[in-house]
Amino acid sequence: MNGPLARRLITLPLLLGGISIISFLLLNFAPGDAAEITLRRQNSGVTPSPVAVQALRHELGLDDHLTLRYGHWVSNAIRGDLGESYRTGESITGELFRRLPATLLLAATALSIAVVTGIPLGVMAAVKQRSWLDSACRVLAIVGAAVPSYVLAPILMLIFAVQFQWLPAVGYGSFQNLILPAIALSFGTMAQLMRLTRSSLLEVLSQDYMRTARAKGLSENSVVWRHGLKNSLLPVVTVLGTSTGYLLGGAVIIETIFGWPGIGQFVVTGITQRDYPVVQGFVLYVAIIFLLVNLAVDLSYRWLDPRLHFNRQAV
């Protein structure tokens, strides 16, 4: 167990380094002169003189060698300084921290909804195979995988917020504001989870050791829930890992539609405004979070690995 885990820990700094290089290069290849844009903003839109631009370039170190600039950037980033927005001059790190809770709340809620509805539905569909419930679930799975969130979201908004006025359409602050965006975001993942739970449970239920469990006289319930589900959850749970990335990404679109003040909305605004430091800060930030989450997941994966679990039992 130490082998792969140790390897993982060793590659971590390499990955972090690689992420930082990619993020840095993103900003580098972006058009626009940082010094000129900053001066222009400070002077209420007046075009700055070339002399002033050159002076600021020198001061900011923009004429230094690429590796030197990368070094500066990394040392700043480690201290938590991701630079300032071209548009507002505000600290990017500050804004990211302020907005991150909103996005995490949305993604976590969507994930929870997907898990809480998808997995039980999948189990029921597998158990009552070929019933109407099974067929309905399969249709739902197919639809859920194909309907984009930016089609579903306006439709939900129109029905629930405008037509029936049960929920607020846009904004942030209360629990009701969370419902529509979270549902819109969770739909695809829910369908996928349901489908996967169903098929993997079906596969597991027909295995030999299931027959053994039944032969031993265990109740059907116990067979399904304790033995079947536990073993079939592995591929399901694997997919949950992918889903996190998808949810974080999908949140970008949902946030734009619902006016949800998270980091997704932040980066979209940054893009349309050519606010490249924002885009770059965002990429770095999200990548690191993603990396850390995946690492934590990997660690717990080793822990939950049934092979090891099982080896202990066997002895």
Partner: protein, 286 residues
Amino acid sequence: MEGLSRRIDRRLAILKNLLHDPGTLLGTVIVAVTIILALIAPWLPLQDPTDVDLTQRLRSPSPEFLLGTDHLGRDEFSRIIFGARVTLLMAGASLAVVMAIALFVGTLSGYYGGWVDSGLMTIVDLLLAFPSLILGVAVAGILGPSLINVMIAVSVVWWASHARVIRGMVLAAREREYVEAAKAIGASNRRIILFHIFRNILGPFIVLATLDMGWIILGIAGLSFLGLGAQPPTPEWGAMLNDSRSYMQTTPILLLAPGISIFLLVMGFNLLGDGLRDILDPTAYR
């Protein structure tokens, strides 16, 4: 000779199986019809999808405009058909690039192993560290809004996870007996790869590609929806969805037409991919 006829028989059997399952049949029909329509679109008796006519804005469906007109008086029906063309072309091209890179990297990694494997997989992990849509958004945002840039963004980001999958397939295939046998005979690596490995992973590879087509279409449409992809007046379903939001309440067909089109096409590819998977790769999880 016998091998050849056996292969033909198998192919025919696959075809027959394809057409039996209702889901797969539906998927095949949808995909085939869309591809055909996209190919022959310029020769169909359709209105010019970019023809602006400000006196005909937001009309309801009529014999002249089968789905009505959009906010600039353009024929919605022809925009949908030509939009299929753009969407399929862009998604197909992205898919080809993604799959090519993934195949190359995955095969090298899986077959040779060792340092090559570790090195390539570290790069893969690096890319996988970024949620793909977000990196796609960032790349497209910095390159600037255009359909080509969206293709580049998607291609750059998407191949990583497939490389891993292909690597797995190649790893499994490598252990098979005929590879050992081929090595024993002294066949060159390249020959082994091309002949045995590829043939072996062809099935799952096709399944992967077909299933992925749906995701790529959604990804490109999503980026266009954010304003990063197709620019006016190019008819593309994601961009059309974005435009339709202002007219959602008065002319909902402008939202439903591209929305349903995307949904149908993605569903079609998914169903087809599922069906293919049942036939070509029955050991995989459904």
